[in-house]
Symmetry: C2
Subunit: 214 residues, 2 copies
DNA sequence: AAATATAATTAACAGTGTTAATATTTTAAA
DNA sequence: TTTAAAATATTAACACTGTTAATTATATTT
């Protein structure tokens, strides 16, 4: 009895500290960005030694990966609501807008999830094929595009190519914006009054294009 | 006489060492990637003290920016040939393929030019509006899209929105691929025989879409 | 109470960019 | 030619980084 009691107590403590480490990492991440996450800072904030962290995570990449996972759970939650949009093309548009919103409101998370190499390489190495969270996100898009095709949209296009294309376009818009690659180009080449709306206009162009191949 | 002589000699030496630093930085960059560029390693390889580099570049970002500029010159050279393609839609397609080629053959440069934050932030801070190399690249795209419109393509679409949209799509394809975000998704959701060609198929979908709104 | 796991720590390694103070070399003036 | 000044380069130091091996402290079990 008391044996299993102490065992479960210890297990709980292990889980608590593991969560605490992640929590502090997230705090640093959200306050001062990715570069301010350091094993030593996390340890300092909790009041433990830096090396203790290595008893709970295999290395820094592992901590980063845990944050990466959190991001995908957040996105999944946001997407879940859209299953209620019946008309598939409307749902596709809403997914696009929702994705852009997520990127703009969670810049650091977006960078971690879809731009940086480190976390996804950790997935590819350690989780190979069984990465639920990532698979689910693309699956949602795939299903919606399939629904569109079933209703007569995108007749000429291939399902997989079309899905990848839509994702790539919206990711392209988000990543250029977030990483600061649009500022100069937009300032130099866009008419004054269009500068603020450049993102929206690029998205509208995608929608326009999608409509015309229906 | 001898005064201007020694002056120009000194100036030449300054330029030589400045170039040498960049050359070694590039060597490290191409051999072992971005992360292996370090002020200390560069200095070691040349046989000077690390601090000497700060007499030729204001900081590490400045060295990185110089590499960034080299990349844009490479891309401009590659694009220059395409001015000879008369038919504007053909030219647009060729630009797209050429851009993807550049990205795949110069992965590290592409990351530096279009994905990383640091170098473009250096541009935005230090060069503000007068960044020729970057402006020229987008200008080339803008002109081609304008030529397309003049020939009756993309009638409904706005010139600037359309250009940004095309860039974003192709950048999206390249960046997802280069940063390793396609591997898992393609393995999990694409039919076996389509996996190798996923990039090409996404590009073809773009072309298909562009055709149908002409 | 002694032996054994488990957990956490200290010390150390091998790096990083960057700055201030110092030394060396080259150029200009007396 | 010698001296003052300017330009160039270096050393030493600061404040960091992730990570490992060896050691100590704390629980748990015999």
């Amino acid at each position: 009895m008391s044996e299993t009691n102490t065992k479960s107590k210890r297990l709980k403590h292990k889980e608590d500290l593991r969560r605490k480490i992640l929590e502090v990492a997230k705090e640093l991440f959200l306050k001062h960005g990715y570069d301010s996450i350091s094993i030593r800072k996390i340890a300092d904030k909790i009041g433990i030694s830096p090396t203790t962290i290595y008893l709970y995570y295999q290395d820094k990449s592992d901590v980063i990966y845990a944050l990466h996972q959190e991001g995908f759970k957040m996105l999944a939650t946001q997407f879940a609501v859209l299953r209620n949009v019946e008309e598939p093309f409307e749902r596709l548009k809403a997914m696009g807008k929702s994705y852009i919103e997520f990127a703009m409101e969670n810049r650091d998370f977006y960078e971690l999830m879809f731009i940086m190499r480190e976390p996804i390489e950790f997935v590819n190495k350690n989780y190979a094929c069984e990465w639920e969270e990532g698979g689910a996100a693309f699956e949602a898009l795939l299903v919606t595009v399939a629904d569109c095709k079933a209703k007569g949209y995108f007749k000429q296009a291939d399902l997989h190519a079309m899905s990848l294309y839509v994702w790539a376009t919206i990711h392209g818009i988000c990543s250029l914006k977030l990483q600061g690659h649009l500022d100069h180009v937009v300032n130099a080449h866009f008419p004054e009054k269009e500068q603020q709306l450049s993102l929206e206009k690029a998205f509208d162009t995608l929608v326009l294009n999608l409509k015309s191949i229906q």
